[in-house]
């Protein structure tokens, strides 16, 4: 039923927008409001007390004591009249009051005789509804009683304001989080190659698992062609997380790429990266440092030659058909970013058919199962077990280590696998 035009406030459109803003309509019963209505009924010694919200065509009860209904039509609801006032609206005897005597709630079955309401006024001046008390016999209301009613209405509006601000905060936090997550994803993607190049006679696979969805991590890997039959394989781990670490990660990845193009040896390129970490600083500031591995792979008549330089990075592993145990690649230098005059060396070895090279970051080896560090043994075992079935099979087994529900991963983890056919 459309409400009588005389019952519609001048600011109705904005008032309804305010009602929507508090998102209270049709929400479940709630102890906070029920306590206020119970208190109001007790103070006024009346059978009925309501917290009402005046909607477009109805008056909805957020809390109702002594009335078995959840809403009534806006017309003839008395609350529709009450919200037109700035203060309490009191009808001591509805049967003789000209404002209400013809009202069906008064004249009809309901037999309402007493009605007192204080509007629920928002901080910006909109009356959402009322706190009202109702009786079936006439009553008198003192100025003090009217003050109590206004105070109780103020408690209701405070509660609504509190909920609104909590909800706004939560929504804002969710928006920020989702923004941070999408930024982290884009930034992370920019630190990793979109796809790995094809290396004839070999398969390649890699994965990267960030420890957090909302923060970009510091691990990176990269594979790129250096020339005909020559490729570079890089993997590293920058200390820290977040945007500052990501900037160092981007520097590390791109410095290694650029230096690799000009260098004849991976140790040279690693030294260039180390120098790059000191650009703008004469001394180490160690805000960030980086461990990294860089290998140059060169196709020969019979397999490949692998020259590797490492900067404090967990040793890469090479598994062959024989012997069964994987061989670690030697450490050849300190982490980059520590000291500007660091020396790096390279080691060389042959990769033959069936050989698999694994590079990984310590997020993998320092994951814990039941408090115990995984360490290198299960990583080596996954490499040995997956070898012979392609790089994807090895990566899959390593990923299983991390996705095991009993395993707690505390840091980003990256893996890169090359297997010769």
């Amino acid at each position: 039923m459309r409400a009588d035009a005389g019952l519609i406030p001048d600011n109705e459109a904005q008032r309804l927008a305010a009602v929507r803003r508090y998102a209270v309509l049709d929400t479940p019963p709630d102890g906070a409001f029920d306590r206020v209505t119970a208190l109001a009924a007790r103070h006024f010694d009346v059978p009925i007390a309501l917290v009402t919200i005046v909607d477009t065509d109805r008056i909805w009860f957020k809390s109702a004591v002594g009335l078995d209904a959840s809403e009534i039509d806006r017309d003839p609801g008395l609350c529709a009249s009450a919200i037109l006032q700035d203060g309490p609206w009191i009808v001591e005897d509805a049967a003789i009051d000209p404002r209400t005597l013809a009202n069906p709630l008064v004249a009809g079955e309901m037999g309402l005789r007493f009605y007192a309401a204080a509007p629920l006024t928002t901080h910006d001046g909109f009356n959402l509804g009322t706190l009202c008390v109702i009786d079936r016999q006439p009553r008198e209301v003192t100025a003090e009683d009217a003050g109590v009613l206004s105070d109780l209405a103020a408690i209701v509006i405070d509660e609504l304001e509190l909920r609104l601000s909590t909800r706004t905060l939560v929504e804002r936090e969710q928006t920020l989080r989702s923004y941070a997550e999408s930024t982290a994803r884009v930034l992370q993607a920019s630190l990793l190659p979109a796809e790995l190049p094809a290396i004839p006679g070999a398969s390649l696979a890699a994965f990267y698992r960030p420890a957090s969805d909302s923060e970009v991590g510091g691990d990176f890997y990269d594979v790129y062609a250096l020339g005909p039959g020559r490729w570079a394989i890089a993997l590293g781990d920058v200390s820290g997380k977040g945007a500052a670490a990501a900037a160092v990660t981007a520097l590390a990845r791109h410095a290694l790429r650029t230096a690799s193009m000009a260098a004849t040896d991976p140790a040279e390129a690693m030294a260039v990266l180390n120098q790059a970490m000191f650009l703008g600083h004469s001394e180490s500031v160690l805000d960030h440092y980086c461990t990294a591995h860089l290998s140059f792979l060169e196709a020969g008549h019979d397999g490949f030659t692998l020259r590797s330089a490492s900067a404090g990075h967990p040793a890469g592993l090479v598994a062959s058909r024989e012997p069964a145990a994987p061989a670690p690649l030697a450490a050849t230098g300190p982490p980059v970013g520590w000291h500007a005059d660091a020396a790096f060396a390279a080691t060389e070895r042959r990769l033959a058919s069936g050989d698999a090279l694994l590079l990984y970051t310590d997020g993998l080896s320092e994951a814990r199962r039941g408090g115990e560090l995984l360490g290198e043994p299960p990583i080596a075992a996954a490499l040995v077990a997956g070898r012979g079935q392609g790089a994807d099979a090895i990566c899959g087994r390593l990923l299983e280590l991390l996705t095991d529900p009993a395993v707690e991963v505390r840091d980003d983890a990256a893996c890169l696998v090359l297997e010769l056919a």
Partner: protein, 115 residues
Amino acid sequence: MSGAGHGTFDAQRFSVEASESAGTVTLTLRGELDLSTLGELEAALPELSPQDRLVLDLRPLAFMDSSGIRLVMRLDVEARSRGWTLTLVSRAGAVRRLLELCRVEDRVEVVEDLP
């Protein structure tokens, strides 16, 4: 050296014991040094003057991760800029292997027994 890089699961995972004599502060590290226990070690680090020596006895340490290496690097940078000396005590084992992996010996004195 007791441990071999295995984490032990007990309430007190890490402890530091300090002793001092004639300009040398010795910190003996026990248990596991990682990101979660690094704060305890950092809190125990002394104020050092030029000519002082800081000895980190890593022999009773069962495990150290990259955050331990990061601290060693930071102490080395500080020691060089302020003029004090850093010495690490470590024998064969997981911690020593990590020091070797990071070529710490190229930069910091690593000895097998307390100086």
